[in-house]
């Protein structure tokens, strides 16, 4: 949040100051994709509540900064290509 020189005491949210929310420290388990089993259906990316999974050319791309380890992706994957592994 920020202020504005012209209006004393106003509290603003500026679009340029927004960004992703790093939640990596929340998780206990993390998803691991088996590329051999993956059929690139895109359901994991569609269902991920945090958009930590996006679909790339080669298949799902995981940005683990945004993953809470909820396991929805692994639960929904029709090819059983995602396993939840305990973080080291």
């Amino acid at each position: 949040m920020s202020g504005d020189e012209t209006v004393k005491g106003v509290i603003l949210l500026r679009r340029k100051d927004l960004g992703g929310r790093d939640v990596a420290s929340w998780r206990v388990y993390k998803p691991v994709v088996d590329g051999e089993k993956c059929v690139k259906c895109g359901l994991c990316a569609g269902y991920c509540p945090e958009a930590a999974i996006t679909m790339g050319e080669e298949g799902p791309v995981l940005d683990l900064r945004f993953c809470k380890g909820c396991g929805v992706c692994a639960n929904e994957c029709p090819a059983k290509a995602i396993a939840m592994e305990k973080e080291a």
Binding site: D22, P49, G71
Partner: protein
Amino acid sequence: MGEFDVMAGNKAVAHGARLARVEVVPVFPITPQTTIVEYLADFIADGLLDAEYIQSEGEHSCLGMAVGASLTGARTFTATCSQGLAYMHEVVAQATSYRTPLVMAVANRTLGWYWSIGPDYTDVMPEINLGWIQSFVESNQEALDMTLQLYKVAEDRRVMLPAMLNLDGFYLSYSQERVELPEQEAVDEWLPPYEAPFPIDPTVGDSWSTNLVPQRLHTTYRRLLEEVLRDSEAVIREVGEGFATAFGRGYGGLVERYRCDDADSVLVTMGSMTTAARRAVDRLRAGGERIGLVKLRFMRPFPHQELAEIAGQVDAIGVVDRAVLHGTGGGLAFTDVKSSLYNLEDGPPVVNFVAGMGGDDISIDDFQAMGRSVLRTAETGRIDQEVRYIEHEAPPPPEPVKLDWDQPVYPGSDGCAGCGSSIIFRHLMKVLGEETIVINPPSCATINYNPVSKAPMILANYAAGAAFETGVYRALRKKGKADKVYLTSFSGDGGTVDIGLQSISAAAERGESFIWVCYDNEAYMNTGVQRSSSTPMFAHTTSTPVGEVWRGKPQRRKDMVMIMAAHRIPYIATASLAYLPDLERKFRRAAEVTRAGRGLAYIHVQQPCATGWYFPEEKTVEVARLAVQTGAWPLVEVEDGLVKLNIKPRELKPIGDYLKLQRRFRHLSEEQISLLQEEVNRDWERWLSLERLGKLPWY
């Protein structure tokens, strides 16, 4: 001698109400008061308290229920704070004029920037001059004891006024302290049942209090109310002394003096911050400074007499406020004390410290500095600074992650792991894009997505979500922007089916052309899983708990599709996060209908909630899918009155498949499960028959 336990202030208050054998308890949740009414639900559900419990649809109604019950002669209790208390405001005034001796606990929370849950007294400020007895407690024990004392004071014929018990949110409401629970027999002896003098029950009496007073007599009745508040001082002292005799705990009368005997100056405080102030006084005294402390236990009636006595003995008074009367320069207690002492001859200088706003902690060091400042004023006789704000630095908020991201919602959020609302919100905003305004009545979404949404999200007052949206819509339309900016709500079930229903109904009737999206997790989740009228029958929630006497929510859920269809709006749909193409198609259709200016488009999406339905978070989508496949959540569309059932499984799976995954249903008997199965089957047939009907006849 009762039993000791360690408990939060909210639990102490709930025990107080239970021991007082309250008869009617209307409730509505709001942090940090909520658990008071949850404990009361547990007591009643387990047969420990015999009382009517009413899950109201909103605070204005809640206090209306309390006044109604008290008028009819029942001993009544309720609790609220902050926005909820503000929403009750006009009924607060009515409780006084009807002379209803009800007791309301206020777990004080700021009435400043909406989404702050920390304690200060800005919430009680607008209510303090409406004629209620106003008490402030310092500890959880005092909270329990005060609950009992307030009933005895309020119901006394010399008083017959409603009473507010103010306890600091979090510092008392959610902090554990050692509390002694008096024995029920001892309380029964000291506090007999309420005998209302003029109950509105025509079989009991033939008089009842009225609010209708001729204009010429208002000034007289105002004077009389002031006299009653003056008279109540004696009652407060009597009750306090009687309590001390019966239960062994005395707190002084309207004020407590701490180390004031040979003090040159005093600090004046109220509430839980008093404890830190005491320690600061001890430190200053140890250093040879002659300073004392005055704790205001009651602010209405205002302790003029006690303050005048103290003023005669000291050379300076420093009033510590947790409330600012905007526009006057200072705080609430300061203004009260200063004006009370103004006409005294040779009154001491009075200074003000504004501290602890929004729940900011006021440390013993802070109080020591305030004490030294007052002592300096006493020494010099000069006021250097009449009002001083005790401010602290804040740690910087977490840095957002900068990344290339073309979607309207950045990745990550503050939602629970596996949150279904996040899935829904991302797909909604994917369809609408970032040139959208999102109206958000208070709900989990407010916490989760504000920091990551490129589209502005505006927190609207709970009962006014569709009203805020209407205002935005009309301004957009006036400026020729209604077809250039999408306008949607993102609301929970509370803000849709209960407290928000009035303004949605009005917007639908007027034909406002915007989208209403309800993400329905079937309870008030953000305040900790209390029932809404969208909670399914038999579900456990914290306000419909499972106990000896209660077996979950007894009522069926409200049918919002038919309620909105009764308004004849152009587009209505239910949707599921397990059926994403159907969900997105419906969002797109809503966008088209509203952009064309045809009226309200209403979409009701089920949101399984691992936290509140008690299932493992990886099953969010699985539970949503089962809801559709068992018929628990039919996917329907009503477009210009034409009903369509979108997904028709060849055979509905048994409802047990859906219920058994959720521990909110784990108590269900075979009988309850078959009742639910019958209901699902009936509803399914109903949808099929409406589909066959063609257009709904009233469209």
